[in-house]
Amino acid sequence: MIELRRVAAVILLFLGVGVGLHLLMDPLRHASQPAAVKAMTLGAGLALAVLGIIGGFLIARFPKERIDGVAGHLEDMVRRGTVGMVVGETDADALGRLGHAINHYLAFVKDEVEQSHMTAKERQIQMKVLEAEKRHVEAVIHAISDGVLVMDAFGDLVLTNAAAERIFGFTFDASTRRPVDEAIHDKRFLELLHDMHETGLVVPHRTLEWAQGSGEHTHVWRVILNTVVEGRKHDRVSGVVAVLHDVTKEKEIARMKSDFVSNVSHELKAPLSSIKAYAEMLVDGEAADEAEATEFLGVIAGEADRLGRLIQNILNLSRLESGLVSTNKADLAVTEILGDVADVMTPQAAQKHIQLEVDLAPVFFHVHADRDLLYQAVLNVVSNAVKYTPERGKVSVSTYLEEGWVVVDVVDTGYGVPPEDIDRVFEKFYRSRHSAGGAAGTGLGLPLVKHVVETIHGGQVALESHVGKGSTFRIFLPAVR
């Protein structure tokens, strides 16, 4: 159709120009014609030639403008990033149909674009939700005190938390993957991870204990290992997750409890041994005379008392700690309590040839305290000093006033406490493994002192010690003004 239009345009052009030129030439051929007719013919010829040129030009030109219009629309839509119509509803010719086909196609593209816009938006929302969930999970993983680390199928570290970084002493950077073998240097732990990776399909879950370090600094971890399984048939291990829970304290408490039972039974057996042995001696008639028999009976009675005191000590601490003991506080002089303690401890010190020196100050410092409990606390400290001081040593007890506190000092020339044990001697059940004296104890004497002084009387206990030289136990009690 466009070709036909072009032919018509050319014909019109030639026709207009031909007839116009013919008319223009006419006055030259008919020179006799009047001037007015010559002018009219010349004008008509010129007009026809111009009209032919313009008409032909317009006919030939018209479709190009429309195509330009369509192109302009398309370019405009591209520029504005929109999709719309390129021709009007009334264009029924071929160009119009082409335009409609393009419109149709554009409508389809528009739908598709809108659809993908929606999908992209939904994806974006989903991504944001996933991103937020990922951050939540990471925050949770980072916040927990257990160590968490994840190794992928290639043996790379893909996730850890702060606790795991502390345990293994590395810094994790999520952006740069690194082999787990580079980050962790403990061979045993690496073996656990790799072994889990290899056998994870057979045993996907495992809990075991792993000891880190050695000697006094041993840390015990309960390691929970899980495999991440992939593949349609779940036949591929894609990673290993390790969670490390610190059980050092639990282990320590279990050990202390076991030691406590062992120590208590040992302590109870000592007086019981004497009672049994001396009773049997009497039964077997081993006492040489009445005086010796009386001596044996005296030992039996004394050891029975000792046994009773020991059991009382265990019960006291237990009851004190459970809050069952009602206290009866009054203003009293610390000096009096020290006197009573000295009376009880002097014979025991004498047995080991230990010089027990109690400096009963002439000034009576008063404290608001429960007499029985405070007596028990001071007695425990002095008895402890005598127990852990070798024969022919010295234990001195004194009291003085210092910045609103009544202070009781118990200084001994004993075996001393190693620096690493100083903070622990007041812990219940704790007995130093380094105890050079090897003396038996329940591990309850000093915890009772701490409880009575600090919890019940608002005071403080302190220990200074040098191995081989001796110790100074210090009790601070609020002074009554």
Binding site: S273, S274, E286, P390, G437
Partner: protein, 125 residues
């Protein structure tokens, strides 16, 4: 010649009762109040028999027996007294001349029987 027995325990009541039981039976008894003292007296007085507590200040009964076995030409037959019987590992005592491990509370009568039995076997051999 009377048999000389060294009794080592940080509990004076125990050394006292064991010493009397053995003395009444005609044995010669020397006493030590801790591991170190026991070691020194054993080196100086060469007893024929040793009765020692396991848990003592200075040196344990096992350590005492091990050191004396290593340093003296003749091993001293020993009876170990302990309040922690179940905690002693046989491998700790196998290489030492420990004839009996007696748990506290113990019978002085049974202790004397054990000493007599050991001394008689020793005399026969």
């Amino acid at each position: 010649m009377t048999c000389k027995v060294l009794v080592a325990d940080d509990d004076a009541y125990i050394t006292n009762v064991v010493a009397r039981k053995l003395q009444n039976a005609g044995l010669d008894v020397i006493v030590a109040m801790d591991g170190r003292e026991a070691y020194e007296r054993a080196i100086a007085e060469r007893p024929d028999f040793l009765i020692t507590d396991l848990q003592m200040p200075g040196m344990s009964g096992l350590e005492l027996s091990a050191r004396l076995t290593a340093e003296l030409p003749e091993p001293i037959p020993t009876i170990l007294l302990t309040a922690k019987g179940f905690e002693i590992d046989r491998t700790d005592t196998d290489h030492l001349p420990i004839l009996h491990v007696m748990s506290k509370p113990f019978s002085p009568r049974e202790l004397l029987d054990n000493v007599r039995g050991a001394v008689e076997i020793g005399a026969l051999s």
